[in-house]
Point group: C2
């Protein structure tokens, strides 16, 4: 990481739309950033986030017609990170919970109880409910990824302006299983992002 200054990382984050095209990000650093971001929590720790990192010229050309008005980000960023939600994350339950036991992070009885509860719970969720779960969980990871990127000296732009119908299949994923949640451009900022305004917390918060 280039900086460890939390205030600078979080308060300095703005959506950056134009990047230095000469700056690429190695596969190793990209995976390092993702692993750092994936410390985010998720519903019953099923981690339904999945990623496609679009960083070759060929893949960016395939993505270009799907990104609507966000072509500048696609054209200039080091990569476009496509974040999908897996609508069948319960397939990973055993692998995740067995490893927690193997690493001494969870007693076997807790694992057995949890695994027995999670599978039927997830199996009975509707498609609409699952979409909401994976969009929430993937958004938690996406927010950490935007901050981790800044710690590494990069900036991002989170976007939902894309063609959701063709994202999965264009990049070889089963569109019935993988829902596009968000895409992030990432790279070295060339133009700084705009400041933006927020509704003050006191206007949208009640104390009870």
């Amino acid at each position: 990481m280039l900086t460890n200054d939390f205030k600078e990382i979080i308060f300095g984050r703005k959506s950056v739309k134009v990047y230095d095209e000469k700056v690429k990000i190695s596969k190793e650093e990209m995976l390092e950033m993702l692993d750092e971001a994936l410390t985010a929590p998720s519903s019953v720790n099923l981690q339904p986030w999945r990623f496609v990192v679009v960083d070759s010229d060929e893949a960016k050309a395939m993505l270009r017609p799907l990104v609507r008005f966000n072509t500048k980000q696609n054209d200039t960023s080091a990569a476009m990170i496509l974040i999908f939600g897996d609508l069948q994350p319960q397939e990973y339950t055993d692998a995740i919970y067995d490893r927690a036991v193997a690493e001494g992070k969870m007693p076997k009885e807790v694992r057995d109880y949890q695994v027995a509860a999670i599978k039927p719970m997830y199996d009975q969720l509707s498609q609409a409910q699952m979409r909401e779960v994976v969009k929430m969980d993937a958004s938690l990871a996406a927010m950490q990824l935007m901050l981790v990127a800044r710690a590494h000296g990069y900036d991002t732009n989170p976007m939902t302006g894309f063609d959701p119908e063709h994202m999965a299949e264009t990049f070889g994923l089963d569109a019935n299983r993988y829902v596009p949640v968000m895409m992030l451009s990432i790279g070295k900022a060339k133009e700084t992002g705009f400041d933006s305004v927020r509704i003050p917390a006191e206007k949208i918060t009640t104390f009870k």
Copy 2:
């Protein structure tokens, strides 16, 4: 803030379920933490997150039957922060975009173009689509709130295990407009949280 150490904040975060009951959080500090967290991005900056901070004994007693197996957090935390999504955030479009112009952060022409585009776009979204949008946006803010809490010396536990049907009306909100997204317990940790495992990024990422 008590610490500005990004690595300590992000990598030290674990879900804490038992808090020091003697430690309360002032309304001023709670609003300060919320304002810091609300620097998170959101779809077309409509910021559909809304908060109910449950910190009185009376309100916690009302919340208790709704939190299912999460009673320890409700009983011992300084507060339970209920995060709702506003299904009609476009009502704030003028207020937000006018202020951006007034503060010199957006040219008037950009404001006019955006405001004209956002309202019809949001008006034609289905209820299911709006639920997904507000759950994503509110999750981005929730993630920053968990991190900001740690910078202030507190810990949190994000939870979706609650009765979604009765959250809004129990706290005086219109259930047709405000969707419960997540609740966070917050307070001074009494017992440390458990370590947990993650699927390595390389197993769930493809490069294209």
